[in-house]
């Protein structure tokens, strides 16, 4: 096991400290992970594939929110609105202008960025709870706009979205679409990791940690806060567009405040300010309703089920689970799964001499 970092291995150059992967092993693990994911469609059934696809587009949006909340410290309760906006924008580009879906997705990301910046500009002056309230208002305003703008979203009825295609090859099955989402996911995660290694990324973290000191060190607060909003909206827009072309139907019903809360739940569970944490949190949040379904199915017919009506109220049980998980994580593990993962790694790295 020479590749594993021995204890006491210190970086000697700045460049070595800021590589994407801290060790060779971690890079190999990432590559093996992606290869394994590439092979997934060969042995997974449709149910699991659809869950993986869900995790894919949601984790892109969650990463965007984590850049905003976790890295820049700007809380947003309106992320689902931007996600929904991206979904509608992509469908709109391909339906109304005949833009091929391949280009419509990044275009939707850019349009969502523009909208995010519009809301981000006033938000750059606010922080903490004022910003939370402002983004809450943004959620309702965008939700209302999407329900109203029939030329853009088809109004309350929703709109159809074409399947993803490139040069006539249509990604219309789960197996094919899985690769599209995976490709986007890898690109977006690598981009985010790279961003955090750059001056801009460090500036965002500085704004979060102490914005007055950051400003004194020559960081333009307004610029970076607005930029963070823009980046986060871009990720949300891409995630939303991928969602639209997966389901091939978008409706305003999906852009609720509960969905925004779910995004916040993902990054809190995964770990604020952790890139891989966004993915872990999304996996947790997507699996949570599935687990609830499994549990209630296991209990179905039993006296507990009959007394409480678990099966009929599964939707509410899921909502309750989301709220409860957020509370429990904040009280007992505020640094999220990413922190727990680090501790597990540290334990095995130095095993059996963990102290």
């Amino acid at each position: 096991m020479t590749a594993m970092t021995p204890s006491g291995d210190f970086k000697t150059t700045y460049r070595a400290d800021t590589t994407i992967f801290p060790t060779v092993t971690s890079r190999n693990f990432a590559i093996v992970g992606i290869v394994l994911l590439l092979l997934c469609p060969t042995f997974m059934d449709r149910y699991w594939l659809s869950i993986l696809i869900q995790i894919g587009y949601l984790s892109i949006a969650a990463l965007g929110l984590n850049i905003l909340v976790g890295f820049t410290g700007q809380i947003s309760i309106g992320h689902a609105a931007f996600f929904g906006f991206g979904a509608f924008a992509s469908a709109w580009f391909s339906n109304s202008f005949g833009v091929p879906v391949f280009f419509a997705v990044p275009l939707a990301g850019l349009l969502t960025t523009a909208v995010g910046m519009i809301f981000g500009l006033p938000a750059a002056r606010l922080k903490g709870l004022y910003l939370a309230i402002a983004t809450l208002a943004a959620q309702f305003i965008i939700e209302d706009f999407l329900a109203r703008a029939e030329w853009f979203t088809g109004g309350v009825a929703g709109t159809m979205a074409e399947p993803f295609s490139i040069f006539g090859f249509v990604f219309n099955t789960d197996t094919r679409y899985f690769y599209v989402v995976l490709a986007y996911m890898v690109v977006m995660y690598v981009l985010a990791t790279n961003l955090m290694r750059s001056r801009d990324g460090r500036a965002l973290v500085a704004v979060r940690d102490h914005y007055l000191s950051a400003e004194m060190m020559g960081i333009n607060l307004t610029k970076y806060r607005t930029m963070s909003f823009g980046i986060s909206s871009f990720y949300a827009g891409i995630g939303g567009a991928l969602y639209a072309h997966y389901l091939q139907f978008v409706s305003v019903e999906s852009v609720t405040i509960l969905f925004s809360i779910q995004f916040l739940g993902m990054i809190i569970i995964g770990g604020l300010g952790s890139i891989m944490g966004s993915l872990m949190g999304t996996v947790f949040m997507v699996m949570l309703p599935e687990m609830m379904t499994t549990i209630t199915q296991a209990l179905s017919g039993s006296s507990i089920d009959l007394a409480l009506g678990l099966q009929d109220n599964i939707a509410f049980l899921r909502e309750m689970a989301i709220g409860l998980v957020i509370i429990l994580f904040l009280i007992f593990e505020p640094d999220g799964l990413a922190h727990r993962w680090k501790q597990i790694k540290a334990y095995w790295k130095l095993y059996p001499f963990s102290h």
Binding site: I75, A132, D144, F316, E319, G323, L330, I331
Partner: protein, 297 residues
Amino acid sequence: MNTSLLLQLLINGVIVGALYGVVAMSFVLIYKASQVVNFAQGEFLLIGAWVCWWLLTTWQIPFIWGFLLTLAFMLIFGVALQVIVLRPMIGEPIISVIMVTIGLATFFQALMKWMFGVFAQPFPPIFERSTINLLGLQVQTVYIMSLLISIVIMVGFGWFFKFSRMGLAMRATAFNQQVAQSLGISVRQVFAMSWAISAMVSAVAGIVVGVVNGVSSALSFFGIKVFPAVILGGLDSIVGAVLGGLIVGLLENFAHYIDSQYLHWGNMYQVAPFYVLIIILMIKPYGLFGTKDIERV
């Protein structure tokens, strides 16, 4: 120009606005005393109204006892919530505290839907429904009663903060926690009591709305409408909360009037306060009566 409709809507605005004011007041109470932004304020209304409804319909007890039992329940509930969930969060960053209350809101809203269903349930008739003539308009007595209760609560709050020992302790804690502590005030008790009182007052508002409109999960929307009200009035001002509530109530009804008469956009009633909220945040984030934060390095 439809004057009678406008007048009717304005009276509605005052009545609903007074209720917003009451809820905003209990929101500000928590914020002032324990520096927690409570996104679960609307759920207090919901829980209070459902508990009272349940006591009245399932157990068939007289309204006054059901009402008092609900208040007792909300007292215990508020204290329990503060002790179990919010106390471990003291000293955590503001994002975490906000998220915990959002988690609470999600949890209790779903719990209430699970326990009582999604459909609006009418309260058993408590008062005779009749209408009186006010300025040539027919106004239902329940609305007048709701307005009276709101005013009583507001006066009660005023008395509480000016003359009662606990109220003074709360103001002292809000002013400066350390000084309050050194004067022998139990800050933990103040925190717990602020949540209890806030829960109780919100429950009263919830019951009032429930009696007028029936109980349903729509009640929790009051908790969101509170934000325009408190931002307008200033987050830490009780007077501001009352005024903000009234303004938001009037504003949404006025927006509804403009919309139904001229614009025909629909749904302005719900969204107009949020546009105003954004504008206020841009030009005067500390509201009409709030204290401006001064940051020293």
